[in-house]
């Protein structure tokens, strides 16, 4: 187990290193001088040069990369050029929208997918199974931002149950959760469709195994065999997918935030891109990539902890 974990840890570090190189390189080749962009067309060359120096743009690429990465490691994300505040503060403000949204969506997706997948598998071929599978086909085909617009049309504009967008802050937790509800549903539904399909096929595999037949032969009812033996074992691949989905939800939130005008990391990225505030873009993207890679790593380790076969292979 320790050897396996160390192996995964090494590839985690390499992944993060390459990721930081790629993100830095992409931002480096961005057309246009940020200093000139910020000062406008009438700026004098020496003013631009002064600002470039202040922003550290006059230093070599290697120095800037090194400064950026060591800063990240210390938790110092640098100073935003447009907001004039530390990037870490900007991120800290907005992560309280993006992270709860992703977690909320993950919970919803699991709550929808588990019963649906288990029901479909245990009633294989029946009308319920066919309906659920049909619904998942629609679920994976629907663009979530469009689904979000339809939710706004129905529940915000026509029924007036929810507001169409915006975020009131966490001072009033009930209102905050309420304003994240439609976005979370829009994010969760396509993921729930995928998860339900995985749950169903994983459970069907388990139901065909010998140990289920043994359990039935020992006198367990179908229902007992299903819940005591099949579902538990079927959960292993499902948990992997849930881990992967977290990254989809975090990244997918970027677009859903646009639909609902939520002040999350997604909006921060877009605002920073249009303001050429590269240090913010760089750091937010790196943070998202970091989260995704670390979550995937955690899933791998958890997977190996519950499934000894995987450890043996590595």
């Amino acid at each position: 187990m320790i050897r396996y974990a160390l192996g995964r840890l090494t590839s985690l570090v390499i992944s993060l290193f390459v990721a930081s190189l790629v993100i830095f390189a992409v931002i480096e080749v961005i057309p246009g001088d940020p200093a000139a962009f910020m000062l406008g067309v009438n700026a004098r060359p020496d003013t631009i040069a002064a600002l470039r120096a202040e922003m550290g743009l006059d230093q070599s690429v290697v120095t800037r990369y090194f400064d950026w990465v060591t800063g990240l490691l210390r938790g110092d994300f640098g100073q935003s050029w447009t907001y004039k505040t530390p990037v870490a503060e900007l991120i800290a403000d907005r992560i309280w929208v993006s992270l709860p949204l992703a977690i909320y969506a993950l919970i919803l997706s699991t709550l929808i997918a588990f019963p649906a997948g288990i029901y479909a598998a245990s009633h294989r071929g029946g009308p319920g199974d066919i309906t659920i599978m049909g619904a998942t086909q629609l679920g994976v085909a629907v663009p979530n931002f469009w689904f979000a617009m339809i939710l706004v049309l129905i529940f915000a504009i026509n029924l007036r149950w929810f507001s169409a967008g915006g975020f009131p802050g966490w001072d009033n937790p009930f209102q905050a959760v309420k304003s994240l509800t439609l976005p979370a549903i829009a994010l969760a539904l396509p993921q729930a469709a995928i998860l339900a399909r995985v749950m169903r096929s994983s459970l069907l595999d388990m139901l065909g195994e010998d140990f289920i037949r043994t359990a039935r032969a020992k006198g367990l009812t179908r229902r007992q065999a299903l819940w005591k033996h099949a579902v538990r074992n079927a959960l292993i691949p499902v948990l992997t997918i849930i881990g992967l989905q977290f990254s989809f939800l975090l990244a997918g939130g970027i677009i859903i935030e646009q639909v609902f005008f939520l002040p999350g990391l997604g909006r921060l990225i877009f605002q920073s891109i249009s303001a050429r505030d590269l240090i913010v873009v760089e750091s937010v993207v790196m943070l998202l990539v970091f989260t995704v890679i670390v979550v995937n790593f955690a899933v791998d380790i958890a997977y190996a902890a519950v499934d000894p076969r995987l450890r043996a292979k590595a």
Partner: protein, 271 residues
């Protein structure tokens, strides 16, 4: 033929036809604005209504189909053109350093949240259909590389490959002449799935303004334009959304249907 295959083929063919016809004819010209007739609900002259500039929505859908299909198709093409050779190479050099490097590189690309990187790429290099294609295409590469390697590995153990080696064929020739034909079906099925994901990705990128730029019609852009109008003219949001939904649904069903149809073992099992 299964029901999936029939419905999937029909839906996919419908949109491909719409896109193809748009090169020759659309019900109305989408580049002339007709403000007095804006936001009309569906009628005889405008079958699917008009948008906020008075443009005919059916014509926009036809032109948008062209953009969606072109972007997704080229993105799949990029994934296949680079991914399949990489996968074949990794399988031919299985266990060697090159194989390891290719597969680790794959894992790395997989680990990136593709949407975030696509946003980064289009934001940095400018929003355009071409950059959207590249951003989507990059993430198709590891999909095809991994699938190719996985399918090719067991083939290398087979007797007919051994026979080919005994004949003195090189690994490259065996890969092209014997491995590739045996994995074509798998690639077609996966290509269909990636095609549908590409349609969704293109729509998402254009929706946030990082895909095809006006005046090029695009379904995602139509949805972005419709967002503020959804309460007064719901059809402007419903129509493009259903277009995306039906096209993606059609491709997914087509992929499922093709997989069953092309795999003789499943076909026998069903009979």
């Amino acid at each position: 033929m299964s029901r999936n295959l029939i419905i999937g083929t029909a839906l996919s063919a419908l949109f491909v036809t719409l896109a193809a016809v748009s090169f020759l004819w659309t019900p109305h010209d989408i580049e002339t604005l007709d403000i007095p007739n804006k936001l009309q609900t569906p009628s005889g002259t405008h079958v699917l209504g008009t948008d906020h500039f008075g443009r005919d929505i059916l014509s926009m859908i036809m032109m948008g189909a062209r953009t969606s299909i072109a972007v997704a198709l080229v993105a799949v093409g990029i994934g296949m053109a680079i991914g399949i050779p990489l996968g074949l190479l990794a399988a031919a050099r299985r266990g060697a350093l090159l194989d390891e490097l290719i597969m680790r590189g794959n894992d790395l690309v997989f680990a990136f949240p593709s949407l975030v990187i696509a946003i980064l790429i289009t934001a940095v290099f400018g929003a355009s259909a071409v950059n959207a294609i590249i951003a989507i295409g990059i993430f198709n590469i590891p999909v095809f590389a991994r699938l190719t390697r996985g399918a090719a590995l067991p083939l290398w153990e087979r007797d007919f490959i051994l026979a080919a080696r005994v004949c003195g064929k090189s690994a490259a020739r065996i890969s092209v002449e014997h491995i590739l034909p045996n994995i074509t079906n798998l690639m077609i099925v996966q290509g269909t799935i990636q095609f549908s994901l590409g349609i969704l990705a293109e729509a998402a990128l254009s929706y946030i303004g990082l895909g095809a730029q006006p005046p090029t019609a695009s379904w995602g852009r139509m949805l972005a334009d419709a967002q503020t109008l959804v309460s007064i003219a719901p059809h402007t949001a419903l129509v493009p959304g259903f277009a995306i939904l039906l096209m993606v649904l059609g491709l997914n069903l087509l992929g499922d249907g093709l997989r069953d149809w092309l795999d003789p073992r499943i076909r026998v099992a069903r009979v």
